[in-house]
């Protein structure tokens, strides 16, 4: 009988493990197709995590606690390298040993010393990649959970053993999601052999919820959230306000994925968020949003402080405690960012946000404390109105919190005041409509079961069905042809939206990390770009309009590729200054694409085209004058220098959003206090009235944008006139930036101005259509074209240049047929 039971239970276990493998395979496919959290590398490493989960569930339960930290160490070694993983692991081991000290005072003092040591080490080793990353990783893992563990360890009736403590501090999700919240150690240590089916069900629910939240976030981020640089109409302003708060979906999505991984590993965790968009008032908010954080604050700060103030009148004690708690919340948010970024963000809008939030919650707490009787629920209609009202209130506060600065927030809000009467009427009617809509939906949902369908948690089979649907949709978009003609293609080929792209590009131009409040989307990207794009040893920084030049006769490795300059300071082979008879010489002018950021010597499209022309017996020399960070003003500055090379033609290469990039470039120069050199530029900047340091970037951008057409015309005129005066053919070539494949509304204006200034035109606007973006870019974080991308550009450009050289009288306005 016993043997039969054991056999049945063993068969069931293998059947359940098979189900788990199927579910995990589906999740792996969905995460791969939609590139979920690709910037942290989660999509690439999730197959390994899934493998670890399956093995973890195969091994006997009593051995699993030894395996948990091993998986973290293994995955960390794969992602960051074994040395870094061991470095971070050692920090965790020290933290675990501290929890074994005999008294609370000893534990807290030694822990404080460890934190102090790590803070100093993080600062000291800021420029040492290895040490800095290891300390940051270790610090991120213990920054909050260690505090929670130190607090709770005194109260455990049964003390957790060494491995349980280690597992608590060294959690796998933290590798990809450093801000994964503080799991309650009491709940974590309750880990026991649960029904495997329950683990799968929980894991599946969490993962699916996380994926759906992240896809919804991506949709809002890419298709709905307007750029702060393009806020003009009432609709854009309202979308800006409302979409900002909707982006909390990213946070909830990440937390759900993390909880999903832990559930699959057998940990039964409570929800982190509870229908947070259905919050009815501020008291309700505290009960639904980031519940782990709330619980941590309650346990470690709120109740201990309140109990210490027992002799105070209760209302005063509550008021004081809530205000202190919000101060601590602000401090701990800065504490988290210290480990992520390496500095404590001290921002006026951040402080104001937490102060306002603290005051509101203190008021709500006091009011609730005074309420003696049970308050009956509101009428459903008013509940609905409350939900919409809270969404507006949170959106308002969130817009303050996520702004780059207080001046930027005030400037953007001020745009509401500048709307005309008609626009204000539309805005008011829309807001009233939203409130009434919320009330009516809430009322109807109380009278009918219809809406429950959307709110109830879907059963297991529906989750599988949703995964299958996502796989079908993802495959269609992922592997379908002509991706860019499909409106939702960006859901599987995520890119930065305009606001984030501007921040990254400004950083690129300025070489300054001046953006203290980057969105979570670009945090990892910017960190990597910062390392990659600025660390070219061939760059020599300059004081004037040219941010940098290339050192002549220099050889280095840039982004892992050979990078050599010739005696003219060009990323090119050596040429003679004196031109050989019969050779057609072209100077190619542009930025990092032309320079070949991320490809090896000889792989640039300039070199490929030159080789191809010479191969078909068209003797030609293309001088690559591209330098990273150069845009139209830098080209206007260097254009006279091309005369010495006696070229027949000069090609200026324009990419997506020409005017935006130009303004961004100018803004970077002005903010960095560079000499603009051209009196016209100085006069425009003077006329615009911009004051760096006193005005926010958005305001300065808006003020300069008024002059965008004139500025572009000026720069194009400078380039073309120098060329035409010296019998050099000015050629304007356009192809889009791979990282910005939205429809380029500025191309036609730039083209028109270029034509009017006498440029010949080569328009290659659809050369990347139908291509898998990731196969033609340097990496996920670096959207410069790779060798394959350069080959595509060369293939497209080659016939036009051949024609230009062979038929020197041809007019090259040859838009491609779609």
């Amino acid at each position: 009988m016993n043997q039969t039971t054991t056999h049945t239970s063993s068969t069931n276990k293998w059947q359940t493990l098979f189900s788990m493998s199927v579910v995990l395979t589906l999740v792996v496919i969905v995460i791969h197709l939609f590139r979920i959290e690709y910037l942290s590398g989660f999509d690439r490493y999730f197959p390994f995590i899934a493998g670890a989960i399956i093995v973890h569930n195969i091994i006997p339960f009593n051995l699993r606690k030894y395996a948990f930290s091993f998986w973290t160490l293994l995955i960390l070694s794969l992602t960051a390298g074994p040395l870094l993983a061991v470095g971070a692991f050692l920090i965790i081991l020290v933290a675990v040993s501290i929890t074994y000290l005999s008294t609370k005072i000893k534990r807290n003092c030694v822990a404080a010393f460890l934190f102090l040591l790590l803070i100093v080490a993080r600062l000291y080793f800021r420029n040492n990649g290895f040490a800095s990353t290891a300390i940051a990783l270790g610090g991120l893992m213990i920054m909050l959970r260690f505090i929670f563990l130190l607090y709770e360890i005194s109260f455990f009736k049964i003390k957790p053993d060494f491995f349980m403590r280690l597992n608590y501090l060294f959690m796998l999700p933290n590798i990809f999601f450093p801000l994964f919240p503080i799991v309650d150690p009491v709940i974590f240590f309750k880990h026991k052999e649960e029904d495997l089916r329950e683990s799968i069900e929980n894991g599946k629910t969490w993962m699916l919820r996380g994926i759906l939240h992240l896809l919804l976030y991506r949709f809002v981020y890419l298709y709905f959230a307007p750029s702060i640089y393009e806020l003009k109409s009432w609709y854009e302003l309202l979308s800006f306000l409302l979409s900002g708060y909707a982006l909390i979906l990213r946070l909830s999505g990440i937390f759900c994925l993390s909880a999903g991984v832990l559930s699959f590993l057998g940990y039964k965790l409570p929800p982190v968020f509870e229908n947070f968009f259905l919050v009815k008032n501020f008291r309700d908010l505290w009960r639904r949003i980031n519940l782990y954080w709330r619980h941590f604050m309650w346990r470690v700060f709120y109740y201990p402080l309140l109990f210490k103030l027992k002799k105070w009148p209760q209302k005063q004690a509550v008021l004081f405690t809530v205000l202190v708690m919000f101060f601590v919340t602000w401090l701990l948010h800065g504490w988290q960012w210290y480990w992520v970024k390496g500095y404590f963000p001290l921002l006026a809008n951040d402080i104001l946000y937490w102060t306002l939030f603290g005051i509101i919650l203190a008021y709500v707490s006091i009011r609730a404390f005074s309420q003696s009787k049970n308050k009956m629920p509101d009428h459903p209609f008013f509940s609905g109105i409350g939900i919409v009202g809270m969404f507006f209130a949170m959106s308002f506060l969130w817009s303050l919190w996520t702004s780059s600065s207080l001046t930027e927030w005030v400037y953007i809000l001020n745009k509401f005041a500048k709307l005309n009467l008609k626009e204000i009427s539309y805005l008011a009617l829309t807001i009233i409509g939203l409130f009434l809509g919320g009330g009516i939906i809430s009322f109807l949902s109380s009278k009918t079961k219809l809406f429950e369908f959307f709110l109830i948690s879907p059963a297991g089979i529906s989750r599988l069905a949703i995964l299958m649907i996502l796989i079908c949709v993802g495959s269609y978009y992922h592997y379908g042809n002509h991706l860019y003609s499909l409106p939702l293609s960006k859901m599987v080929e995520p890119q930065l939206n305009l606001t984030d792209r501007m921040i990254v590009e400004r950083g690129y131009y300025e070489q300054l990390l001046t953006a203290p409040k980057m969105s979570q989307e670009i945090q990892p990207l910017f960190k990597k770009a910062e390392v990659n794009d600025f660390e070219n040893l061939a760059y020599k920084n300059q004081k004037g309009l040219l941010p940098r030049i290339l050192t002549p006769d220099f050889h280095t490795t840039f982004k892992g590729k050979s990078f050599t300059t010739n005696s003219f300071g060009m990323r090119d082979k050596e040429y003679s200054l004196i031109k050989t008879n019969g050779v057609y010489r072209i100077c190619l002018l542009g930025g990092s694409y032309e320079m070949g950021s991320g490809v090896a010597d000889g792989e640039t499209y300039e070199q490929i085209v030159e080789d191809s022309l010479n191969k078909i017996k068209i003797p030609s020399e293309l001088f690559n004058m591209g330098v990273g960070g150069y845009h139209v003003f830098q080209i206007a500055k260097i254009i006279p220098s091309i005369i010495q090379y006696h070229p027949e033609a000069a090609i200026y290469v324009c990419h997506s959003s020409e005017k935006q990039r130009m303004i961004n470039n100018l803004l970077g120069l002005v903010s960095a206090g560079k000499d603009l050199e051209f009196s016209y530029l100085k006069s425009i900047v003077g006329k615009s009235g911009i004051v760096p340091g006193k005005m926010c970037n958005v305001e300065m951008y808006d003020r300069l944008t008024v002059y965008a057409d004139s500025l572009l015309k000026f720069a194009y005129h400078e380039i073309a006139s120098v060329c035409l005066k010296n019998n050099i053919r000015p050629v304007w070539v356009y192809f889009p930036a791979i990282g910005d494949l939205r429809e380029d509304s500025e191309m036609e204006t730039a083209l028109r101005i270029a034509k009017s200034e006498g440029f010949e035109i080569i328009k290659l606007d659809i050369i990347f259509a139908g291509r898998d973006v990731h196969s033609i870019t340097v990496s996920d974080e670096d959207t410069h074209p790779n060798a394959k991308g350069h080959q595509i550009i060369a293939n497209a450009l080659f016939p036009f240049l051949r024609k230009m050289i062979v038929d020197s009288n041809s007019i090259l306005y040859l838009p491609q047929n779609k």
Partner: protein
Amino acid sequence: MSQDEIRQTVRAFLIDNIYAGIENAELKDESPLISTRIIDSIVALKLVSYLEEKFNVEFEAHEVDQDNLDTINKIVSFVQSKMK
């Protein structure tokens, strides 16, 4: 004080004070209160003050948690253990 008397006192307090509004019959002795967020931090605090005053017991800060206050039964057991 008997277990039933403590239970009735706790129940009466909760019916009067818990946030969402709930009828006496709906509130079972095993209904989760903290984990379902029927009791929030304010009500928990009021409950603790009430219990301290009513039964002359003293709570520690770390005792205000799910293990002790999540259901009426747990509250009753905890108060009883404190009264011993």
